[in-house]
């Protein structure tokens, strides 16, 4: 999945979670402060992303993630890993 379509999907999920359309979703935006979320919103967003893309994000993998770009990179990596597993099965 391309980065821009992933960004679009993330915008939809953020809107569902917070009730507000995110203005700027560029890579260097800080996830919590930049998107007007708190920790509960972020947990909800992670769960939604997991369900939408059928991936599982471990809490350890989220520890270094603070910006939108880092989050998208992590989701991209998990989706590709999932695709590779499906192809190998």
């Amino acid at each position: 999945m391309e980065r821009e379509s992933l960004r679009q999907a993330l915008a939809e999920l953020v809107e569902q979670e917070t009730g507000n359309k995110p203005g700027n979703l560029s890579d260097d935006v800080i996830l919590i402060e930049g998107l007007g979320m708190d920790s509960i919103d972020l947990v909800g967003l992670v769960v939604q992303v997991e369900n939408r893309f059928r991936i599982k994000i471990a809490t350890d993998e989220l520890k270094g993630v603070s910006k939108v770009g880092e989050f998208l990179a992590l989701v991209e990596k998990k989706i590709s890993a999932g695709d590779a597993e499906t192809a190998n099965a």
Partner: protein, 238 residues
Amino acid sequence: MKLRHPLLLRWGGFAIAMVARLWHLTVRPVVMSLDGRHHPPDPCRDRYIYAVWHDSILALMYLRTKIAVMISHHTDGELVTQACQQLGIGVVRGSSTRGGAVALLEMMERAKERHLLVTPDGPRGPRHVIRPGLVYLASVTGLPIVLLAIGHSRAWRLKTWDRMAIPWPWSRTHGIVSEPICIPPSLTREEIADYCGRIEERFIKLTASAQRWADAGRRPHPAELLAPADSPALARCA
């Protein structure tokens, strides 16, 4: 002076754990459980989210069981983490102000095999005001909340935001363990805030009762403390 060296932190934590153990051997706990059960039960059978005000966090010493507690990322939190690990208490680092989302996810994971302990007014207050994390955790994990209301016959109060209580040696600590409170799944933000308000009101009342018990020495009757069965305030668990 802040301790930052890992070895010093480790030794500091060990020293705190030892002092806390010895200290608590001199403090007599007197506990009343409103649901008539022994708390905490074996976590393989039943698990709960125990809530204790930040000023009474030392009550953690009495919970000898598999339990996970959330401790903030502040430097003093590192020392407390080391002490908890020496005492065999599982620690999840984070708070509502820093690393909260990862900590919540980790607590959700730990809830599958341990009880959880939450200080709902931590890490920075305001004192005795419940923040949404407690209700959210209960809602997503399905674990009932049990309030641990603490009163001390004699205690020093630190000059911190929470007025942390340090019980005097050879004093009594009175604990009232609430009936389990069940929180439904999929709550909206408004519903979470509503539950926070109701639980806060109940917790403040129980804490006042525990302190009156400690001051006067007269054991309250459990019926005086139970939330009325038909009360719309909080749903008791089946």
